[in-house]
Chain length 148, copies 2
DNA sequence: GGTATAATATTGACACGTCAACTATTGATA
DNA sequence: TATCAATAGTTGACGTGTCAATATTATACC
């Protein structure tokens, strides 16, 4: 019954989310928000489009999450002073602090998840997940093997 | 940047969902509904609580998905005639037919995902996912190793 | 039997994801 | 320059998940 890969993925994914629920609440994050702040913190100011592309999430979702984060003071939408008018998104000091604490919790969750895995198993696990993703990606983007 | 297991899981999970989007639409399923109908089809009539327990999903979500499925005629909420009053959920013939077609698409998605994986790799992959889930589960439920 | 407690299901409010429609701005071209 | 097409962002509607509050129904106990 529970041997499909879909169920296995579903369970692992949601178990992590469950595990991190209290931390999300404590830090004032919605479930999809830490990844955005984390990215912005590492990458520096960028456009919303870059976020929705990187995470392969609908721009609408990004827009709303940023509004929420902005209200909490974790992020600001800024206007590029140089030339263009498109707005850039930037992390605030409060956002940096929150995401720093988030990383600890997130790492802790990963440690729990991989408890009992050897280094070799971790590497293989990561590789399998990446391959699974790439397989879907190839199917989606590449409808033209174009043998010529 | 993208080497965290969370991102790897997130991407694999959502890539599958993306891939199956058109099939969901075609069969009139919401994204979380096929698993319920699939379960009901295999298991036979059962209570909602069993569904929310099995999938570890909030009963509220199950209730609403069933309402939606009932509207589409894939499922009925029945009253146990024997003795108890609690309502049982049951798949309809239309639901059976839809889920049968769903299984083909779902299997196809799994084939895509695992393309290039040997049998041994598939087995290991499944095992890793199950272990990851169990690690979270142990952390959650078992706060009492109780060495005595 | 009658009452207290527990379990079940539903509903409301919110967050995240989808798609689709709309606005505004950028950029390219006539 | 003026127009037209492409891109970016927002908003609306909907489905799925969370938690919290509310009936309603079972069960247990006196």
């Amino acid at each position: 019954m529970e041997r499909s890969f879909h169920m296995l993925l579903f369970r692992a994914f949601h178990a992590r989310r469950s595990y991190l629920g209290p931390s999300l609440k404590e830090l004032g994050f919605g479930s999809g928000q830490p990844k955005l702040v984390d990215y912005l913190d590492r990458r520096g100011p960028c456009r919303q489009r870059e976020l929705s592309d990187y995470f392969e999430v609908d721009p609408a979702a990004v827009s709303r999450m940023l509004s929420s984060l902005e209200k909490r003071g974790y992020v600001v939408r800024r206007v590029d002073g140089a030339r263009r008018r498109r707005d850039l998104v930037e992390v605030t000091p409060a956002g940096r602090e929150a995401v720093a604490r988030w990383r600890l919790r997130s790492q802790e969750a990963e440690d729990v998840m991989l408890r009992g895995f050897t280094e070799e198993e971790r590497a293989r696990f990561a590789q399998y997940l990446a391959r699974a993703y790439e397989n879907f990606r190839a199917e989606r983007g590449g409808d033209r093997p174009c043998t010529s």
